[in-house]
Amino acid sequence: MMDAIATARVGLIAVFALLGLFFSFVSMVGVIRLPDVYSRAHTASQADTLGAGFGLAAVALTVGWEGAGFKSVLLLFFIFVTNPTAAHAIARAAFEEGIVPWTEGDDRR
């Protein structure tokens, strides 16, 4: 019984770590592929939300119900508060500079 739980836990840790890797990878591809500063800010926030989210969930599962696990949850909370603030600051700075967002049919690509 205990063995089954331990195996499930290791499996879940692996799944979470892989999901975290996957979303970080998507985010990286997005930053390279997307056309302008605004759309890149979208995908940069993906790495923080689900990339770091699943990564920290894997960490919390690994260390278990103790100080470090609790702290990783707190870490996630602060990432969720600061990440949109940073993305907004970048987008707002671009907007105030007068950078027109890229749309379909724009030849600036």
Binding site: F22, F23, V26, V29, G30, R33, L34, P35, D36, V37, Y38, S39, A41, H42, T43, S45, Q46, T49, L50, F70, K71, L74, F80, V81, N83, P84, T85, A87, H88, A91, R92, A94, F95, E96, E97, G98, I99, V100, P101, W102, T103, E104, G105, R108, R109
Partner: protein
């Protein structure tokens, strides 16, 4: 309390019941879409909650006459402004819930549309007649209120009003600018709340059974609450409002997580599959949430959800960049707005039409654009984004 607000909203929408309530302590507030309108509304609701007024009449004085070309459009626009003002006032009343916000009723009315108004004296006449009909004895002016075109009418209007029995006051608000609203009053409760919160956080990281952590923790919490209690909290925590907000916030977190995962999958697909096109556009949504913390919560939730990114907030207008039409539709359906209202004002306030139904949203770019992009330097931007793009 929520009942009062809802009833007033209903009355205001029909616009007829204003004359039924000749309360001795009513105030008339002429409104117009100005930069200071939001803070003027907040100010008048605050004074009403402190017991200065029992009824607030928001009026828009028509600068046109019924039957003019386009008069229907202008009346509809004026009605929209009034509806928005009433929604703001109700949100603010909810905020002061328990501090005397109960007895306040809100009315709104469009007046003066059956005649042409020329100078300040005409406006004062209409205003005074309306005040008399509803039994109001005070007028509160928005400092930027200029009903006729771009002329600064306030001084003559105030002057002309002084010849009437009405008492006149100008709301002590200034144009929204950077840094305004950043600091609020320091109060004991706020200080204590900030102190408790930072101490609790310190002990989550440290060890509450070790004397040294107590010494450093108390010192840290003191410094934090001295420097930040006036910035982080803009209202006193209150029972039961604050714990209720925390509980409802805890309900919101899984909902937000679900939305984030859903949107992440959609955006991941668009990014990884070169056949799927992206259609980024800038959009404008006028949201009905209180300024400060509720607006920040909503804007941050929108940005956290991949596919939508809050670029600017001008009063209650959010400028949101969307990556794919799916994300834009979700934004215009306003589910995050309703959830934010649920967290801050409770379940009954969460029931409201979507931004699409309210006609409070617009696409600013592309083929479906209905409004112009309010960008600072359009041609300067071209070159700016050129350098941004060419590194592909």
């Amino acid at each position: 309390m929520a009942d009062t607000g809802d009833d007033a909203g209903g009355d205001a929408a029909s616009g007829g019941d204003a004359t039924d309530d000749p309360s001795p302590k009513s105030v008339v507030v002429p409104v117009e879409p100005t930069p200071t309108l939001r803070s003027t509304v907040a100010h008048v609701v605050e004074s009403a909650a402190e017991g200065d007024f029992s009824a607030i009449h928001f009026v828009e004085i028509a600068s046109w006459r019924n039957g003019d070309p386009l008069s229907d459009d202008r009346a509809a626009e004026a009605k929209r402004v009034l509806e928005r003002v009433v929604a703001w006032a109700e949100a603010d009343l909810d905020d002061v819930d328990g501090d005397g916000g109960e007895g306040v009723t809100i009315f709104s009315e469009l007046i003066g549309a059956d005649e042409y108004l020329f100078g300040p004296s005409d406006y004062v006449e209409v205003l005074a007649a309306y005040a008399e009909s509803v039994g109001a004895d005070a007028v509160l002016l928005d400092p930027e209120y200029t009903p006729v075109g771009n002329t600064t009418l306030l001084q003559p209007l105030e002057f002309a009003l002084s010849n009437t029995p009405l008492s006149v006051e100008t709301a002590p608000v200034s144009r929204p600018s950077r840094g305004e609203r950043l600091r609020s009053e320091a109060t004991g409760i706020r200080f204590a709340a900030m102190f408790g919160l930072s101490l609790a956080f310190y002990f989550v990281l440290g060890d509450p059974f070790y004397w040294f952590d107590w010494v450093t923790g108390l010192a840290t919490a003191t410094i934090v609450s001295i420097t930040l209690s006036r910035i982080s909290l803009d209202a006193d925590p209150a029972i039961p409002r604050t714990p209720m907000r925390v509980i409802r916030g805890a309900i919101y977190v899984p909902v937000l997580l679900y939305e984030i995962i859903k949107a992440n999958l959609v955006v991941a697909r668009v990014i990884l599959d070169p056949r799927l096109p992206i259609e980024p556009t800038m959009n404008r949504v006028r949201v009905i949430v209180g300024s400060g913390l509720p607006l920040m919560t909503l804007a941050n939730s929108i940005t956290l959800t991949p596919g939508t990114l809050t670029v600017r907030a001008r009063d209650s207008d959010l400028y949101v960049h969307s990556l794919v039409p799916w994300a834009r539709d979700g934004l215009f359906d306003g589910s995050l707005e309703r959830w934010t209202r649920f967290v801050y004002y409770g379940r009954s306030s969460a029931r409201l039409p979507t931004p699409r139904e309210r006609d409070d949203c617009a696409i600013l770019q592309g083929e479906a654009a209905t409004e112009e992009l309010p960008i600072a330097a359009t041609d300067g931007g071209q070159t700016g984004s050129e350098s941004e793009v060419t590194d592909e």
